[in-house]
């Protein structure tokens, strides 16, 4: 029986696991912390702009499970805020238990609180097994590196403002490990300007109960609040240091944009010093939820693996990559999409079949190819998401962006017919 080993239980890893388990392969998913979803636990915005299109494409390709869970925990539909249209807001914290149940039901072999520390690679060309921090060895036929690109502490310290005790909990569960780098393939490091590497996560969370009642009621009703920032505190620099270029618009500098994601309130700023925050009406008693520091956030995009458009890591026969590990991608849909392809191709590889490259007539194939092309040309600064920034512009320009379900279904079905006869 084929044995697939997936490292990292974020959206990407979970998506790979679901896809790979649809065959009769044995699927092992290893996560260092005690919960799934990784950075995704701090997410909550989806279907905004081109993410709508990508989500529909993925549904028609047959990867519905995780998307349906997101639908189930969606609290606000069709919300608009500056530069973003028809967004859905969901609560990732209530999605986690559901995803875990789904994976268990599908017989994915979950190893929680297990951190991969090293790989065994006898001939340096393929991976034979991985070694956990307690020295357990897990062998496999094919591996997927879905360890993300956030942290670890040393990076957040060197390129950020120190560990902000974010959702990943490096001090408790140990640091992220780049599996591809352990196997001898050098990571590509994202930059934000000449000297600085990586980028700050672009949002943080407030405890909902710490907003005043009036503000909270308004937020829960509309899903969004746009609060002007006092002039003296406007800091446009924040826009440049953010991972999420789709939220790098001037409106996000001048205003505090709050979104209702259920358990917590999502604040569209990488960080916001608490004293300044409390100057704003209604936020006099505001408290940060995650990360727990009000002046820092996690650093991301320091660990992208070189790969081809089938998401196979270059230089290794049996390692695939997904999520932020596979590109300078931002977002859950982006992670689910790449997770799907990596899971699919891992199985194809193990069976000795041809690897799938999703055609560029679909946005999900196009983003994978376009990102790769830009990175190969040496651009390590841009981030890619269906929801904004340079990639959404491209989607619009090339006619890939649409909310017309029939159109999306037709083009997806055509691809299915061509590729999977």
């Amino acid at each position: 029986m084929i044995k697939v080993v997936i490292i990292g239980g974020g959206w990407a890893g979970c998506s790979s696991a679901v896809t790979a388990r649809k065959t009769d392969a044995e699927v092992i998913l290893i996560e260092k912390s005690d919960v799934l979803l990784g950075c995704g636990l701090a997410s909550g915005i989806t279907k905004n702009n081109g993410r709508y299109t990508a989500t529909e494409e993925l549904k028609y390709l047959g990867a519905r499970e995780l998307l349906e869970i997101i639908d189930n925990v969606t609290i606000h539909k069709n919300v608009n805020f500056p530069g973003h249209y028809h967004a859905n807001l969901y609560d990732p914290r209530t999605a986690e238990p559901m995803i875990r149940e789904t994976l268990k039901k599908m017989d994915v072999d979950l190893h929680m609180q297990c951190r991969v520390q090293d790989v065994i690679s006898k001939n340096k060309k393929s991976i034979n097994g991985i070694i956990l921090s307690d020295e357990t060895v897990i062998k496999g036929d094919v591996f997927i590196d879905a360890t993300g690109s956030a942290g670890p502490m040393g990076n957040c310290l060197k390129y950020g403002k120190g560990c902000s005790t974010c959702i990943l909990g490096c001090p408790s569960f140990g640091p992220r490990t780049s599996i591809s780098a352990r196997a001898g393939i050098k990571d590509i490091v994202g930059s934000r300007d000449h000297e600085k590497c990586g980028a700050f996560s672009g949002s943080c969370e407030l405890i909902k109960k710490s907003l005043n009642q009036h503000l909270r009621a308004r937020l829960e009703k509309k899903g969004v609040l746009i609060l002007p920032i006092p002039n003296e505190d406007v800091n446009m620099d924040h826009l440049d240091i953010k991972a999420c270029q789709q939220y790098g618009l001037p409106e996000f500098g001048k205003n505090l944009i709050l979104l209702d994601t259920g358990t917590h309130v999502k604040m569209m700023k990488p960080f916001y010093p608490i004293e300044n925050l409390r100057k704003i009406q209604g936020l006099e008693r505001a408290m940060h939820a995650c990360p727990q520091r009000s002046d820092a956030n996690s650093i991301r995009f320091l660990s992208r693996a070189p790969r081809n458009n089938a998401l196979k890591v270059s230089g290794l026969d049996n390692l695939f990559c997904a999520g932020e590990k596979s590109g300078f991608f931002v977002g859950c849909v982006e992670a689910i999409v790449t997770g799907f392809l990596a899971g699919y191709n891992a199985i194809n590889f193990a069976k000795g079949e041809k690897l799938l490259k999703i055609p560029e007539s679909l946005s999900i194939g196009d983003i994978i190819a376009y990102e790769n092309e830009c990175v190969r040309k040496g651009d390590h600064k841009n981030r890619y998401t269906f929801s904004g920034g340079i990639y959404f512009q491209r989607m619009e320009k090339n006619g890939l962006y649409t909310t017309d379900k029939d159109k999306i279904r037709n083009r997806t079905e055509k691809v299915l017919k061509d590729e999977c006869r």
Partner: protein
């Protein structure tokens, strides 16, 4: 190959190596661009920045009283009074100290395995094979010596040792390195292991009185055919799954060769026989190369099973 710095996350971490971007554990403190650590429970980079980018505490040299001094053939056995905390710290297999006569400068420092540590009466016992300038100088008639401690990397494969419970263990000792076997055997007994002790007869068996009575002891000359045959019989008849070789390089080589030729699978640990000078990863005298990777053996642990050829 992942190696581990024995001092990582200890009281003496980060050390001077961090100041010069040579840390053996943290990639950022080793001049690399990104963090790529194996995690020993703390972030050394964080500690280093909070300490103001300098070493906060390093090991000091202290004057210690000699409680007892004995010569047995060519061996000098010293019982040394140490602070209570030191006796506790040094009661670990693999512990060693640097010692020198109080009459000579620091380049007389020599490393010695701690043979016994007594944390009730606060003393340690070490054995010196009188050989060259450093050891000869120790014979001078003084009742105090300089000590620098604690150091821990006297044995490779300490992780393997700590994981060994209820197993059949073969401890092979010979030469001056047998001193390192005493606390190792204590540890194995504590962890309810069954021990077979094999002593190389070509050297005085000076640790005899420190070994528990119920340990099975065999004495053989291990450098000939017969010894080899004997070793082979022991391996198979006792179904050995853990082996410690505390002896000179030649002895280690012979045993490793034998294990290899039989493809005998066992957890392996070895005494650190390299020439140590500073113990701090600075001077480089202890450096060896394994699979193309350079190791400062005064500080670095590696997995003997798959890394030693």
């Amino acid at each position: 190959m992942i190696t581990e710095c024995i001092d990582a996350s200890s009281d003496y971490c980060p050390c001077y190596l961090a100041e010069v971007e040579e840390c053996l554990s943290c990639s950022l403190l080793n001049g690399e661009k990104t963090c790529n650590c194996t995690w020993t429970g703390t972030c050394k980079f964080n500690e280093f920045l909070w300490a103001g980018k300098q070493v906060e505490s390093h090991r000091k040299t202290i004057l210690c009283k000699i409680l007892e001094k004995k010569m047995e053939e060519n061996l000098l056995i010293l019982t040394l009074k140490v602070p209570h905390k030191t006796a506790v710290n040094l009661k670990e297999p693999g512990s060693y100290i640097f010692i020198r006569t109080c009459l000579k400068p620091s380049f007389f420092d020599l490393p010695l395995a701690v043979m016994c540590a007594n944390e009730i009466e606060d003393y340690i016992i070490v054995t010196v094979d009188i050989k060259g300038p450093k050891t000869k100088a120790l014979q001078q008639n003084q009742n105090v010596v300089y000590l620098r401690y604690p150091y821990y990397n006297g044995i490779f494969g300490l992780k393997q040792l700590k994981k060994t419970f209820n197993s059949n263990c073969l401890v092979i000792l010979g030469g001056i390195a047998q001193a390192s076997g005493v606390m190792l055997i204590d540890k194995l007994i504590e962890n309810k292991n069954n021990i077979v002790l094999l002593i190389d007869r070509s050297y005085p068996f000076f640790i005899k009185k420190y070994i528990a009575d119920d340990v099975k002891i065999y004495k053989k000359n291990l450098s000939n055919r017969e010894g080899e045959k004997f070793l082979q019989d022991i391996l198979f008849s006792f179904n050995i799954d853990f082996i410690y070789i505390g002896g000179c390089g030649k002895l280690q080589e012979n045993v490793l060769h034998l294990l290899k030729s039989h493809q005998y699978p066992a957890r392996l640990t070895l005494s650190n026989n390299n020439r140590l000078c500073c113990g701090e990863g600075i001077c480089g005298s202890c450096e060896i190369t394994i699979k193309g990777q350079r190791l400062r053996t005064c500080k670095e642990q590696f997995n003997v099973d798959d890394d030693y050829d």
